[in-house]
Structure formats: structure tokens, C-alpha cells
């Protein structure tokens, strides 16, 4: 007879695994990938492929030559990070910059800390902010979306994002109303389906929400976190809209433009870098919502979600300390229920 195995209890497992979780996320990103392909064509494919391949390459290389630990590139986390990095980039970005961003993402933000699960900051966002600051020109050139089957022009035309357009106009002294109805401004419907300038993954709200719903259904993410972000951003920007509609954009505009939904659904929910308890997640989400709107309204960057998530990532350990799960035995009811 073969040797019996001795191990501590429990002796069964629910057979979920890290890679299953990660590939669920990949699956959830497919609608957004399709949307980006629809609007930005083969450039979107190029950017996504380059990001994923260089992320995998970097992960493999660091594990093989520097950490000398087990190789775990097939756990899917680098694929998720790679796609999310691509989602945060404009379609026209040169490939070498994507490679640099992916290397920083995996090399600096992830493997330096020991790899999956140990990084305090969201790798894809570190990669993205790194690129934003390093390559400001290319990172702020947004190709105008053209649905795949529409007649294509010879070379890509770039235009501003809705947020950039608005901010620029208001800063230049135009009223908010004029800007909202400016000819370049995408309509509400376009914003919802994603026919507007922006990074690959952020343009189509509906596609992202679809993916988010799938992840909630699969219990990969908790709905409280994205909801708290969106709600806070809505209320906070709405407050200022009520105070002075001539300067501030309406809350729906804030929700549907920029990467707010992308960040809320796919990036803030990264379990590695977000708090552990639901209460903590809500605090985290409220923080992100406030910071995002603050940066959008008063900061120099038209878009604030990346920074907001990174800053709240820094708060995550403190939040984890402050919002422990409710310990059993902490609220002692003396009265019987039955």
C-alpha cells in the first residue's frame, strides 16, 4: 500500500484557487476589451498584447534570475495587471513606452516586494502613473474613437478627453454649461457606451459594469467597494454642482467620464491592495471618491482616480488596523432571542 498522508485538519478544500480568481477577472474584462477594440481598432490590441507580454516576461525574468523562487507566471495575476495597465493607456501610445511601463509595474511595484500578494500599491496604477509623469505628451494624446466599421481616416486624429476638455474650458473662463454642450463634447449616451476620447478601458461604462456584475456574481469582489466610490464621487461632485453649476460639472458627467468606473470596478477592488473588511472597504472607497473629485476639481490633473487609489493604498494598512472584523463575543446580548 502507498504511504498514508498525515496533515492537520481540515482535510478538504473548496478547490478555488488564485489562478481561477485571476482568470475570472480576465473573463470579466472581455466586454471592456471588445469595446476598446471596437472604438480604437487594432491599436488597442497592440497595446494590450504588448502590456501583457512584457508583464509576463518581467515577472518570469525576476523570478528566474533575481528571486530564484518558484515560477508563478501562469497564476494569471500578471495577465490581469497587464490588461489593466493597457486599459489605462491611450491607444496611440508607442510600444516601447508600454514595455517600460509594464516593467516598472511588475519589476518595481510588484516583484520588489516579493511578488503576488505582497505589494502595498496597485501595480498597474504605479505603472500608469509612472508613465503619466514620465511620458506626459504621449500619455495625454487621446485618439478619437471611431467605431470599427465606420469609415477610417488615414492617420489617427487626437482629441482631448471629455474631462480634459471641460477642465481646460472652465479654466480658460468658459462657463460649465457652454463646455458641456461644446461640439467636441461627447453626448451622455456616447459617454455611457464609450464613444469618446480616453484610455482603452475607461471609455465604455456599460462594458465595465457588465464585467463588474460578473465579478460580484462570482464573489471575486464585494459590491460595497465600487459602490461606495461611485456614490461618494456622485454626492461630492453633486454638492459642488449645486453650489455653483457655472463652474462645476454635473455629477453624472463625473461618473461617466474619465476612469472613475474602471478604477472603481477593476482597480480599487484589487484584493492585494485594498482593506480586508467590508467596513474598511467602504472607508477606502469613500476616501477614493473624495480624493478623485478633489483632484479633478482643484488639482492640475484632469483625472484623479489613479492617484486617489494609490494614495488610499497607502492608507490600507492603517485601515486594516482600525477596522478589524467584528470579533465574536464582542457584543454580548444578555437577552434571549427566542
Amino acid at each position: 500500500m502507498n504511504k498514508l498522508v498525515i496533515s492537520g485538519s481540515p482535510h478538504i478544500h473548496d478547490h478555488d484557487s488564485v489562478s481561477k480568481i485571476m482568470y475570472t477577472v480576465v473573463l470579466a474584462m472581455i466586454p471592456a476589451m471588445l469595446a476598446s477594440f471596437w472604438f480604437f481598432g487594432f491599436d488597442s490590441l497592440r497595446v494590450m498584447l504588448v502590456a501583457v507580454i512584457s508583464a509576463l516576461l518581467m515577472e518570469w525574468a525576476t523570478q528566474k534570475f533575481l528571486l530564484k523562487g518558484p515560477l508563478t507566471i501562469n497564476d494569471g495575476s500578471a495577465v490581469v495587471s497587464g490588461i489593466l495597465l493597457a486599459f489605462n493607456l491611450p491607444a496611440g501610445i508607442p510600444s516601447w513606452m508600454v514595455v517600460a511601463g509594464a516593467f516598472v509595474m511588475i519589476g518595481v511595484a510588484k516583484m520588489t516586494f516579493g511578488g503576488l500578494g505582497k505589494n502595498p500599491f496597485n501595480p498597474a496604477l504605479v505603472g500608469r502613473v509612472f508613465m503619466l509623469i514620465s511620458f506626459p505628451v504621449e500619455m495625454t494624446k487621446w485618439p478619437v474613437p471611431r467605431p470599427l466599421f465606420a469609415t477610417r481616416l488615414a492617420d489617427a486624429i487626437t482629441g482631448p478627453t471629455a474631462l480634459g476638455l471641460f477642465k481646460e474650458g472652465v479654466d480658460a473662463g468658459q462657463s460649465a454649461q457652454t463646455m458641456l454642450h461644446a461640439s467636441q463634447m461627447p453626448t451622455e449616451i456616447a459617454r455611457f457606451f464609450g464613444e469618446m476620447g480616453g484610455s482603452l478601458g475607461e471609455v465604455s461604462a456599460i462594458a465595465i459594469l457588465l464585467g463588474g456584475a460578473y465579478m460580484v456574481y462570482k464573489k471575486v469582489i464585494d459590491w460595497q467597494l465600487p459602490l461606495s466610490i461611485l456614490l461618494t464621487a456622485f454626492l461630492f461632485s453633486g454638492l459642488f454642482y449645486l453650489i455653483n453649476p457655472a463652474v462645476y460639472a454635473p455629477p453624472m458627467f463625473h461618473l461617466l467620464t474619465g476612469g472613475l468606473i474602471l478604477g472603481a470596478v477593476f482597480m480599487a477592488t484589487d484584493m492585494v491592495t485594498s482593506p480586508m473588511t467590508i467596513k474598511g472597504k467602504v472607508v477606502f472607497g469613500v476616501g477614493i471618491g473624495l480624493l478623485t473629485v478633489t483632484i479633478r476639481l482643484w488639482g492640475s490633473y484632469p483625472e484623479g482616480i489613479s492617484f486617489a487609489i494609490l494614495i488610499m493604498n497607502a492608507f490600507t494598512p492603517l485601515i486594516n488596523k482600525a477596522f478589524k472584523p467584528k470579533r465574536f463575543g464582542s457584543d454580548v446580548l444578555k437577552t434571549a432571542k427566542i
Binding site: 514620465s134 511620458f135 506626459p136 505628451v137 495625454t140 494624446k141 481646460e168 479654466d171 480658460a172 492640475s300
Partner: protein
């Protein structure tokens, strides 16, 4: 360490005093020695800045002119060569930069055309808005020798003649506005015959 002094009050007091005394003497002397070069260096810096934006001059006269847009006034340096006015250098600003205020010195020839522009400080994004600096790009050259009378000081997007820096319209707008402020101020002063 045989001769180490004990830590009593007199010892502490005197040793510190002696050290301070020696330090004081030496520092005072060094200061006296470097005073002249420091002053010279400071003067040279100002002069260099003006030399850059003003036509040849041998003397400078600072004046204050009422700004064209606001009640405040701007600092203007008039350059003279042999008593002849050779141009104005206006310390001007704009608050519409991407990162906030932009300060620059714009130099004009007597006919009102731009001699040169030198950015004093700004908070624009490196790689984007900071291309307005002469050390970063040649973008500012499009202003040289243009006379704002026929070169409309507005970016093309706003219906002017200025080509904006790629992806940095806001910074370009601020820069242009500051130059415009300087030019209008000079022009107003010219019309009114100056108000020193």
C-alpha cells in the same frame, strides 16, 4: 587622551567662547572677502537676464507701469544706450498656467516688437508645459521679432497666431497671456506718455 578637559562650568564656558570667537573672526573676514563678489554675482544675474531680453544698453532705469488689465502695476526696466531708449523689459505674469502662476520677463524693442522672453519661474509639468523654457525647447522662438500689433497674441485654438506647445495648450495660453499683458502695458504707457 591625557589632556582632556574636565566638564566644569569655567572650562565649558571658556572653550565655547574661544571657539566662537575664532569662528566669529574667521567668518567675519571671509564675509568681508566675499562680499564684493557676491554683490557682483547678484548684479550680474539681473543684468544677464535683462541682457537676454533687451537690446544693447549701457544703463537701466526701473519704472512701474500700471498694468493693462489690472489696477496693479508691473515692474518695467527701460534700457538706454547713450541716453537713447533701446527697449523695455517687463516683469509679467499669468495665473492661468496648468500648475499655477507663470512669471517671465518679456523684452520689447522701441517699435513694440518682441526682442526676447525669459521665463523666471513656473510650475508646469516637466515635459509638457515646461517647454516654454528656453532651455527646454525652441518653442518660444516663434515670438521673437514679432510685433504683437500684427501677430495676434492668442493661441490658434482661440483665434490667435501662436502655435501651442503640443498637448500643452493651457501652458501656452498662460505664456501668451503674460506676454500680451506686458505688451499692452507698454502700449498703454506709450499712448498715455507713461505714468511713472
Amino acid at each position: 587622551m591625557a589632556g582632556k578637559k574636565e566638564s566644569n562650568f569655567i572650562n565649558m564656558f571658556t572653550s565655547l567662547l574661544v571657539i566662537s570667537f575664532v569662528a566669529g573672526i574667521s567668518l567675519g573676514s571671509v564675509y568681508n572677502l566675499t562680499k564684493a563678489p557676491i554683490a557682483a554675482a547678484a548684479a550680474k544675474k539681473m543684468e544677464d537676464a535683462l541682457r537676454l531680453v533687451l537690446p544693447d544698453f549701457d544703463s537701466i532705469q526701473p519704472i512701474k507701469l500700471k498694468s493693462a488689465f489690472e489696477p496693479d502695476s508691473l515692474l518695467v526696466f527701460q534700457g538706454f544706450q547713450n541716453g537713447q531708449l533701446t527697449g523695455w523689459a517687463v516683469k509679467t505674469w499669468s495665473k492661468k498656467g496648468f500648475g499655477g502662476e507663470v512669471n517671465l520677463i518679456a523684452g520689447f524693442k522701441p517699435d513694440g516688437s518682441i526682442k526676447n522672453i525669459s521665463v523666471l519661474d513656473h510650475k508646469e509639468t516637466p515635459g509638457l508645459g515646461d517647454k516654454m523654457q528656453a532651455s527646454k525647447s525652441d518653442w518660444y522662438r516663434q515670438f521673437l521679432d514679432k510685433n504683437p500689433a500684427d501677430f495676434r497674441l492668442k493661441v490658434k485654438k482661440d483665434g490667435g497666431d501662436v502655435d501651442a506647445i503640443t498637448a500643452a495648450t493651457i501652458s501656452s495660453r498662460a505664456f501668451t497671456e503674460a506676454v500680451d499683458r506686458a505688451w499692452q502695458t507698454i502700449e498703454n504707457a506709450k499712448k498715455e506718455g507713461g505714468n511713472e
